[in-house]
């Protein structure tokens, strides 16, 4: 079941009705059933896989908990001195590490087998001179949201290991956390400790939650169905043959794709968070006006925030503080100096993080190259930081105009990096980039197939999104401000956007109703 389908609002309405009549204790069960039903719509195989991940996480969590309890009991029983206490802790930490490694190994192996094995075999084939295209593939259907629930499960187990959250005894509660239907297809990637605060509460339906949630959902649909899906066929038409389309049309398509990605992904997350709000469930924000970033570093603090923080907490920190890194940094510190040691740790850890981020987005060389390009730009920026500072100090480039320039520069950089996302192979991306140097013929813009009405809708819709973003820089809780104006104001927003989606949306016959882009990651 897709968010952008007629079935989803009906599903949601039925769920709200049942939620209202069920007692509080039964409501999490209702959510679990609804999540199972939602997931079943994506196929039976997927739910079996998901059930396996849930059981594994639950079992491993309990084993970790048992070791923690044993450790506590032994310390209490022995009442040891400091050295002995440390020794006991070390023993149990080793045991817990074994459990954690084993569970994470299985989870990552599952992910690898289902999502990446084809890619590896094809890559291997090409290394030995075979044509990768001739390999038919294993035909494994990738379960919906595999990356999201696997990462959530990994995060949960690491948090249990670290003691930042307790192990869940009730498998149904963990199942709901990992399969909660709004987040399963495109995130945000949630932490058990945060989500469990509201997920199992079964809070009564409240007018404020309903209006805030509905406003957010309507806004999300507006961005997805009116804007992103209207851009999709125009972009596809140009990217089908960038060299034939020429420089101007290709440049337009690259910019349109960057906008589409934003409308699509943020629209999807708006719907997700809005659905959570209807039920009083607080989901983490995933974006903070990313296209208002002045640098790539800032952009990655504002875009897909939960994924970035996941990689930071569960990959970057463990790698950069690992035994290997500590040894390496120690050696470099002795031979070259402390600055170089810090840099090497940063470069190597970041390299791994960005390679993993790239691969997480998809099993393809283009995603890997995309990740590494991001890494390279970020590291070069890091190196040039002192130079920038001197430059700014000397010429005094500051203020609004300079900020706007930086935002535009970052936007164009992100647009170019996103190009790796648009083609199956790296060759296609470079082909499109090369097409930018072909003659800029405005007549070729007609290849987009956009009519005047499409252009007007996109311009007005885009301007509205921009205006709302600007307002949000001054009024972060815009929906709260609207809600304070009363029921009629909330209704006007919800109904206005619903009407806009229904009348101006790019859906139905003649449109290929596209799934959310991030569904495939």
């Amino acid at each position: 079941m897709r968010f952008a389908s007629v079935a989803f609002p009906l599903f949601l309405a039925a769920l709200l009705g049942l939620w209202a009549i069920l007692p509080r204790r039964a409501r999490p069960w209702l959510l679990l059933l609804a999540s199972a039903a939602f997931y079943l719509c994506a196929g039976l195989g997927g739910i079996v896989f998901l059930a396996g991940v849930i059981l594994l996480s639950w079992g491993a969590g309990l084993l970790l908990r048992r070791e923690q309890e044993k450790q506590k009991a032994q310390i209490e029983e022995e009442a040891p001195d400091r050295a002995r206490k440390k020794e006991i802790r070390a023993v149990f930490t080793r045991r817990k590490k074994r459990i954690l490694r084993c569970a994470l190994g299985i989870l990552l192996l599952d992910l690898f087998l289902v999502k990446y094995l084809d890619f590896v075999i094809r890559g291997g084939a090409s290394l030995f001179g075979a044509d990768p295209a001739s390999f038919p593939g294993l035909g494994i259907i990738v379960p919906l949201g595999i990356s999201y629930f696997t990462f959530s499960a990994i995060g949960y187990l690491i948090d249990v290991f670290r003691g930042t959250c307790g192990a869940e005894k009730n498998p149904a509660r963990l199942a709901l956390f990992l399969s909660f239907f709004p987040i399963i297809s495109q995130g945000p990637i949630c932490r058990y400790g945060d989500l469990s605060e509201t997920l199992f509460e079964g809070e009564n339906l409240k007018g404020e939650n309903l209006s805030r949630g509905a406003m957010r959902i309507a806004w999300g649909y507006f961005k997805k169905i009116v804007l992103a899906d209207r851009l999709a066929p125009a972009i596809a038409a140009i990217f089908a043959d960038p060299s034939g389309a020429g420089g101007m049309a290709t440049a337009a398509a690259i910019l349109m794709y960057t906008f589409r990605l934003y409308f699509d992904f943020t629209g999807g997350i708006d719907i997700t968070i809005g659905v959570g709000e209807l039920f009083g469930i607080r989901l983490p924000e995933n974006f903070n006006l990313p296209y208002f970033s002045g640098s790539l570093k800032e952009y990655w603090r504002r875009w897909h925030i939960t994924m970035c923080s996941w990689f930071r907490d569960y990959l970057f920190y463990p790698v950069s503080t690992s035994g290997f890194m500590t040894k390496l940094s120690g050696k470099i510190r002795t031979r070259v100096g402390p600055k170089a040691a810090g840099r090497v740790v940063l470069y190597v850890s970041s390299f791994l993080v960005w390679a993993a981020t790239g691969i997480w987005h998809g099993a393809g060389m283009n995603f890997l190259v995309w990740g590494l390009c991001n890494w390279a730009v970020l590291m070069i920026s890091e190196e040039l930081e002192p130079l920038y500072k001197r430059f700014h100090d000397r010429f005094g480039f500051r203020g609004k105009a300079w900020r706007v320039f930086m935002i535009l520069r970052t936007f164009l950089l992100v647009a170019m990096l996103n190009l790796f996302d648009c083609f199956d192979g790296v060759g296609g991306t470079f082909g499109a980039a090369a097409a930018l140097f072909a003659p800029w013929d405005p007549g070729k813009l007609a290849l987009t197939g956009l009519e005047i009405k499409d252009i007007l809708i996109l311009l007005f819709g885009g301007a509205l999104v921009f205006a709302v973003s600007l307002i949000r820089t001054k009024v972060p809780d815009l929906r709260g401000a609207i809600a304070r104006r009363g029921t009629v104001a909330c209704w006007a927003v919800i109904f206005g956007f619903t009407l806009a989606v229904l009348l101006l949306g790019a859906y139905g016959i003649g449109y290929d109703q596209s799934a959310f882009i991030y569904n495939r990651f």
Partner: protein, 350 residues
């Protein structure tokens, strides 16, 4: 309490607005492609019918209910629509029999030759005109194409939202009601385009009708038998799409097996006076008014002689209804013939 009342009122206002918008963007078919309004027009009928004719354009352009009334006293209605699939014919019959039980149902067998779902546009014209009932649900589920969704029939706004950019004055003029576009389901054409060089049908690898088609015809036959209705199968005298001898033989065998009457008008076209140089308006596919008059005369004779339908002339209420209908039909016919004559004279002068 006040808040709840406001919320309920706003929800109601939203629903009413959506319904009103949905009506606005839904095609009215009041001019141009008027075939889209014909299925819905049936529900304005106030009388029961002796004969229902069901099928595609080979029915609604070939028989004239006004003539059946005027010449035979038979009250008939054509529930026809463009490219009506046989499954749709079944459900339209089922839908009609919910409210009336005619003595005879006439079904044109051309649609036996195809069972695949071909056209969303024609589907819409047939299905949207039906009133909501289990028959309509069945018809939608049985015949909608892969690109269609059931929801878009329930909420037409989902299908026609893009028409908001292409609204015409008629969308407002006929917002509440569409004037009659047919004459008891008959679509009148008075122009003439002779049939010339009609090609023979290409040989087929397999002349069997799809199993699916037979299933629906069986269901129609069963439904008529249950209700005590005589089912007449006909093949209109359309020169194309080509009607193969092998197809004809299958229908003939079927009719014989089921004890039904089957008339292939292609075979008896000459006998009943069809002249393909004057009686068709599109080179042999559909009859014009003159061809339809001849077919109607034959059908009227058949209904009275073989099926013993009695004239209902003299029934006061029916007479009153038909007086109005006949007047409209005759007026429009005279105007159309005069316009066609004027056009022909103009062309001759040029």
């Amino acid at each position: 309490m006040k808040k709840t009342i406001i919320a309920v009122l706003l929800v109601l206002l939203s629903l009413v607005s959506l319904i009103a918008l949905s009506r606005l963007v839904t095609p009215k078919y009041a001019d141009g492609i008027i075939e889209g309004a014909m299925i819905a027009e049936y529900y304005k009928e106030t009388t029961d019918h002796d004969v229902l004719l069901i099928g595609d354009c080979e029915v609604y352009e070939n028989f004239i209910p006004a003539d059946l009334w005027n010449n035979y006293g038979i009250n008939s209605y054509i529930r026809g629509s463009a490219e009506q699939y046989i499954a749709q014919s079944y459900y339209i019959l089922e839908d009609s029999l919910r409210t009336e039980t005619p003595s005879v149902v006439v079904f044109n067998v051309q649609s036996l030759s195809f069972s695949e779902k071909r056209s969303e546009a024609y589907n819409r014209m047939t299905l949207e005109g039906m009133r909501w009932s289990p028959s309509k649900v069945g018809a939608i589920l049985a015949t909608m194409t892969e690109e269609e969704s059931f929801a878009s029939y329930v909420f037409p706004l989902l299908r026609y939202h893009e028409r908001i950019f292409d609204l015409k004055p008629t969308d407002f003029t006929y917002y509440f009601s569409v004037p009659p576009v047919s004459y008891n389901g008959y679509y009148m054409r008075v122009d003439v385009r002779p049939a010339e060089n009609v090609p023979e049908g290409k040989p087929l690898a397999d002349y069997s009708f799809p199993e699916e088609s037979w299933k629906w015809l069986d269901r129609m036959a069963d439904l008529c038998r249950e209700k005590g209705i005589d089912l007449i199968l006909i093949k209109a005298p359309s020169l194309y799409p080509y009607w193969y001898g092998e197809w004809d033989a299958q229908v003939r065998d079927y009719a014989e097996e089921k004890g039904l009457t089957y008339i292939n008008y292609l075979e008896i076209a000459g006998q009943i006076g069809i002249d393909y140089s004057t009686d068709t308006y599109d080179g042999g596919l559909h009859m014009n008014l003159y061809g339809a008059e001849k077919l109607t005369a034959h059908l009227g004779d058949l209904l009275t002689s073989e099926f013993h339908l009695k004239s209902r002339r003299g029934e006061e209420a029916l007479e009153a209804v038909w007086a109005e209908k006949t007047a409209r039909f005759e007026n429009d016919k005279a105007a159309a013939v005069a316009a066609e004559q004027e056009k022909a004279n103009g062309e001759a002068t040029d």
